[in-house]
Amino acid sequence: MPLLKKRTSEQVVQVPMSSMIDVVFLLLIYFIVTHKDELSEAHLAVNLPTPGAAASDRKPQFLEIEVRPNEVYLQGARLPLDTVRQKLNVVAQYDPEQTVMIKTSLQARARELVSVLDMCKEAGLENLNVLTLED
């Protein structure tokens, strides 16, 4: 009996092959298309230094981060990335509006700048300025 049953079901399945392939192709194309749209990119907003801003003699409380090749300085002290991250979190807790000046050395890589920007975003600091470090 089971043998007979199997036979009939096989016969039924055999019929709509070509249309099934069509549907499968359509699904495949659909997934390929939607997948391409999911480019996971983050866009980190930074402020540009406005011309003449450096000349002002007001002394606001900036948080200063220096990005040099393979090293990061926070307020003039060279610190490991994890410590910088912790300190940024503390700063952000007190004042999320804190202006951060990220002075980047011309020899630093984009990767290093992005990692610092990312740490600031993680802490919740949004007021980020990217400046050039004259050395």
Partner: protein
């Protein structure tokens, strides 16, 4: 005679529809791909915590910056002079609130990024973003 040709035409309607659908999908896909050409040769720096963008403002100017300092916009190589002209044209067309996105390779020196940012600033644009790849 006439009847016979009509009979033979009637048969492949279903497959015709399939082909038409495929053509429609093909054109839809190529049209939307052309809208934002992404330079895949750039390996963006990775950001672990930043949120991935869902929608990009339509008039965003995307500048692709390779690690050797060469630039292109929508896969068209541009020189520094051309870039400045393009930025000026963008300011004239849609004002200085036009966002600019810098897609720099992870290994690009900040020197190159700084040069581009200076150009952006000099024409009066100030909404600058730096692209990073989101890794969670």
């Amino acid at each position: 005679m006439r009847r016979r040709t009509e009979d033979s035409v009637e048969t492949p309607i279903a497959s015709l529809i399939d082909v038409v659908f495929l053509l429609i999908i093909f054109f839809v896909v190529t049209a939307s791909v052309e809208k934002d050409i992404v330079d895949d040769t750039i390996k963006l720096a990775q950001a672990k915590h930043a949120k991935a963008v869902e929608t990009k403002q339509d008039n965003t100017i995307t500048i692709n910056l390779h690690d050797d300092g060469s630039m292109n916009i929508a896969c068209h190589p541009v020189s520094k002079r051309q870039l400045k002209q393009l930025l000026k044209a963008a300011v004239a067309k849609s004002g200085n609130t036009t966002p600019v996105l810098i897609r720099g390779d992870a290994e690009t020196l900040f020197r190159e990024i700084d040069g581009v940012m200076e150009d952006i600033g000099s024409v009066g644009l100030y909404r600058v973003k730096i692209a990073a790849e989101v890794t969670h």
